[in-house]
């Protein structure tokens, strides 16, 4: 499984596994820009593809300490400020599902946001603060357009 390969072969344990049957969305990552469930894909199926996990989101520079880290992606920042995570186990999956959503819906309504969130399960937050975080991230992203990685 792609999820196992990333987690256990490459040590990229930011991608989580909650159900291994395609329902919870915790294992979501970007495959050539699209959000996919890595528990349903074989690693070999992704040969030659661009795979992005949560670890890539803030564009952090490998090997450097906390002081020199790149700032959080606006979506991550919004999650923190709006308290959109509690145990944080579902969080990487939500983040990676929301990146393409916000690219396609720069100014989503609350209903669209809830619809977008409904593909992932969170057992802790009751979703309300996730909705608020997406709203706030959309605002930030509209204010500072361009590649999120280059945003600051």
């Amino acid at each position: 499984m792609l999820s196992d390969f990333l987690r256990h072969e490459l040590g990229l344990t930011g991608t989580h596994v909650g159900c291994e049957h395609g329902v919870c969305g915790a294992c979501t990552l970007l495959l050539d820009g699209d959000a996919v469930r890595s528990c349903l894909l074989f690693a070999v199926q992704c040969s030659g593809c661009d795979v992005r996990t949560v670890e890539s989101l803030a564009g952090q520079r490998a090997g450097e300490g906390a002081a020199t880290e790149d700032p959080l992606h606006p979506l991550q920042e919004a999650f923190r400020e709006e308290h959109a995570l509690q145990c944080g186990f579902c969080t990487p999956g939500f983040l990676m599902s929301l990146v393409p959503f916000l690219e396609r819906h720069p100014d989503p309504s609350d209903e669209e946001i809830r619809e977008a969130l409904s593909g992932n399960l969170c057992r802790c937050t009751g979703y309300q603060n996730l909705v608020a975080a997406v709203r706030s991230a959309a605002r930030r992203l509209r204010a500072e357009p361009g590649e999120p990685d280059a945003a600051s």
């Binding site: 159900c19 670890e55 509690q86 969130l117």
Partner: protein, 794 residues
């Protein structure tokens, strides 16, 4: 000016690690050369194990061991009774606990009978399929009433029946209340609770370092310190040789407090095989191998005067404890003690019977039996109001305990073995605020008639509840100012997303005048702190929070004492602010705390006898009794007569958990609790067939609510500080989840009123579109695929 951090919505300090995908969960622990465990589980709910043939599996490449109960040596024994029965007169309790691997008899589907250890999880699971288990199936029972029948299949042959426990508690004179009553309401009420289903399944990883003779165990537990004790005792190690780490945990909600056989087996295997060993539960397994909650059937009566005043309540209920009862009576005791809620009930007579069934083990899950009790009293009140022609909110108003009654001694023994005593609260204020926020009067008088006239089925409801929280025995914390000026805090409770890293840092920061960001908290690592019991019963903020407070206060005293010498100024003239101690208003006198810490730990020279080095203190907090939080939830919801879906239109919470450490975190706890309550009320159900096979053991069938199922929640807080602890806090972890079932039943009943046949009552939870349909069409032949599995839900 000293800054106050308690009470602020400080963004969480732990978030950055989680957001960057860098937080370490148990399955993230990198173990070089680790072996992986897979369990072979019983396909039958009840049966005799005739034989287990492990030979084919053992021959498979990459397989290191295939073991059954026979091979476990002294581990092959029933596990501990984790919570003994409380000291209640006349209590009957039969303890039956599971062994790590079943021997001879299996008593629920999914009970582990063998295990495979292999080079990878894939290989272990392949080999598992090659273990041939010959079990002779026997009749199984899951229905609570059927299980008590004389000829019912028995779960434990050595007991005369499936009765696991019986406990009666009463006060006042029920018979007299009944005689004096103008109305006695009698109901059979069924409340079914489900699986906690945290997004992270359970898991255990262990490494035995032979040279250091040290065992390190990473465990998704809510109680790392008791786990360490149990592992050390069973494996014959000293406690100091065992380090249990509960790292980031992906949600717990109760069942991760249980002590499971796998938590012993994995460390034992690591020692035996001399290799790191890991077991990670999969989602399907979690429906059997992790404990859950299920139903209670109540036969309840309420005696009232014509004016709606309650004279007494009598309740007899059955409680499903599953195949074993390692967690004692905590869940049914909570039901029994929470039932009285915010109300003044002069006479109460309650007796419960715990029943063994051929189903997975029941232990506390968020709410832990409290929702069952709340459902009973709230339904009785709704129905009494209807019969007496009193408004449903008004009848509550007439029965609430008044603020001048505190402390309220309930005359009942609670789960912490002390008398249930409500410490403080203002219940009328909660109710009035909730009624006002949701616009109860206006909705009833104006909006609802209009909506009805337009053919829409929209209802309103309001319920109240209490939550006994923050129970003992105790927790501890150690606070130390480091030479860098940063503050290290260690406490024993595990954390599963409640924000302890932040709220405890706020508590400590207030005493030491530092920024919470400079406070680094370690929780759930027995090497850092090894006294304590765990995170349960909404006690983290109360008990561990106050321990942090006490330790910080002691460090503050040390700082003041030393600084007063150094600055030659009286302690009263000093202040702690911005990471320094200084003469008030004289920043030129400031000594950074880090520097003071170094002075308190001199490397040369003499110190006075009796002096302790450093700016460090360890303190404990043990409350005499639990503290009682309370709240009121109100909802307006619409039922669609076509789809039978229930759509919440507004959801209002007014909650009082004493002093609020971090309002943002508290609100998050409310949201999450309510979402789980909504799942319980309308979406989630553990459906068993008559062979006691679980029919809803995956996320395809066990439906957790999604973002489109949970409404926006309007929350409001009242603060009546608890007099039982210095911070004045009460627990809040479970509150959101507790009253939602009662609220759903009431709101749906109200929405459908006029459309139901007279006398039709909602008397069970969970509801579902299917059940709403059948309420609306009682004669209909329509049945869902699930029909016939409802067993005790009817």
């Amino acid at each position: 000016m000293e800054t106050r951090w308690i009470g602020r919505s400080l963004p969480r300090l732990e978030d950055e690690r989680l957001l960057r995908g860098r937080a370490q969960f148990v399955d993230d622990v990198a173990l070089h050369g680790a072996l992986h465990v897979a369990f072979v589980r019983s396909p039958f709910a009840h049966g005799r194990i005739r034989s287990i043939d492990t030979s084919a599996a053992a021959r498979m490449p990459g397989v290191h061991a295939v073991l059954t109960a026979e091979d476990l040596g002294r581990l092959d024994a029933p596990g501990p009774v984790l919570v003994p029965p409380p000291p209640i007169d006349g209590i009957e309790f039969h303890a039956r606990t599971p062994a790590p691997l079943a021997r001879e008899v299996v008593r629920h589907v999914g009970e582990a009978v063998a295990l495979v250890v292999a080079d990878s999880r894939y290989l272990a699971e392949d080999a598992r399929d090659e273990v041939f288990v010959d079990i002779e199936p026997m009749p199984a029972v899951g229905d609570l009433e059927a299980a008590l029948a004389e000829d019912a299949p028995r779960v434990h042959q050595d007991l005369p029946s499936n009765l696991a426990a019986r406990t009666r508690q009463s006060r006042g004179d029920w018979e007299e209340a009944r005689r004096a009553a103008d109305l006695v309401i009698e109901r059979r009420l069924v409340y079914d609770h489900g699986a906690s289903a945290p997004m992270e399944n359970r898991g255990v990883a262990a490494v035995w370092d032979e040279r250091a003779e040290q065992l390190t165990v990473w465990d998704t537990t809510q109680a790392p310190i008791p786990v360490r004790g149990a592992i050390a005792a069973t494996l014959g190690l000293s406690e100091s040789q065992v380090r249990v780490i509960a790292p980031f945990i992906g949600g717990g909600f109760g069942p991760k407090i249980m002590f499971y056989g796998d938590e012993l087996l994995v460390p034992w295997l690591a020692m035996r095989l001399g290799r790191p060993v890991k077991w990670i539960e999969d989602r399907e397994e979690s429906f059997f191998s992790t404990t859950q909650e299920r139903s209670q059937i109540h036969h309840a009566e309420m005696a009232l005067r014509r004016d709606g005043r309650i004279l007494g309540v009598r309740d007899r209920f059955l409680h499903d404890t599953g195949a074993y009862d390692p967690y004692g009576l905590t869940v049914p005791i909570n039901s029994q003690c929470t039932l009285l809620g915010c109300y003044d009930v002069p006479a109460y007579d309650s007796e419960f019977t715990c029943v063994f069934t051929h189903r997975p083990i029941v232990t506390p899950y968020r709410g832990a039996g409290r929702q069952h009790g709340v459902f009973v009293i709230e339904r009785l009140l709704d129905h009494a109001a209807d019969e007496l022609g009193i408004d449903r909110v008004e009848i509550r108003r007439r029965n609430l305990l008044h603020p001048d009654r505190f402390p309220v001694r309930q005359g009942l023994i609670y789960q912490d073995f002390t008398e249930l005593t409500y410490d403080s609260g203002d219940y009328p204020a909660l109710l009035e605020r909730a009624a006002e926020e949701i616009g109860y009067e206006r909705f009833r008088a104006e909006e609802q008639p209009e909506l009805r006239a337009a053919g829409r089925l929209v209802g309103i409801a309001l319920v109240t509840y209490v939550e006994g929280t923050g129970i003992g025995p105790y927790e501890g914390a150690r606070v130390r100012v480091e030479a860098s000026g940063r503050v290290a805090v260690a406490t024993g409770v595990g954390t599963q997303g409640q924000g302890h890293f932040t709220s405890f840092a706020q508590v400590v920061a207030d005493q030491l005048g530092v920024h919470p960001g400079d406070v680094r908290l370690v929780t759930g690592d027995t090497q850092e702190f090894h006294w304590g019991t765990g995170t349960f019963a909404s006690r983290g903020a109360v008990v561990a929070g106050n321990a942090c407070h006490a330790a910080a206060l002691e460090v503050r005293r040390k700082i003041l004492r030393l600084a007063s010498q150094e600055l030659e100024a009286p302690e009263e003239d000093l202040e702690l602010t911005g990471g320094v101690v200084q003469v008030r208003g004289a920043p030129q006198s400031a000594i950074p705390l880090g520097e003071l810490a170094q002075r308190a730990n001199p490397l040369r020279g003499a110190v006075e006898p009796g002096t302790e080095p450093g700016l460090e203190a360890t303190s404990y907090f043990g409350p005499a009794t639990g503290t009682t939080a309370a709240g009121a939830h109100a909802m307006i919801a619409e039922v669609d007569p076509e789809t039978c879906k229930v759509t919440p239109l507004r959801y209002v919470v007014v909650h009082d958990c004493g002093t609020v450490l971090n309002p943002m975190i508290l609100e998050g706890q409310m949201h999450g609790g309510i979402a789980q309550g909504i799942g319980n009320a309308f979406f989630e159900e553990l459906v068993f067939d008559d062979q006691q096979q679980l029919q809803s053991g995956s996320f395809m069938d066990y439906l957790l609510p999604t973002a489109t199922d949970v409404p926006a929640i309007e929350s409001h807080h009242l603060e009546t500080p608890s007099p039982l602890n210095p911070l004045g806090v009460k627990g809040a972890g479970e509150a959101g989840a507790i009253p939602v079932g009662a609220l759903y039943a009431a709101v749906v009943e109200d929405a459908l009123s006029g459309r139901l046949e007279p006398g039709t009552r909602i008397d069970s939870i969970p509801l579902s579109p299917e059940r709403v349909y059948r309420l609306l069409h009682p004669d209909s032949e329509h049945t869902a695929e699930n029909e016939g599995h409802e067993g005790d839900a009817r």
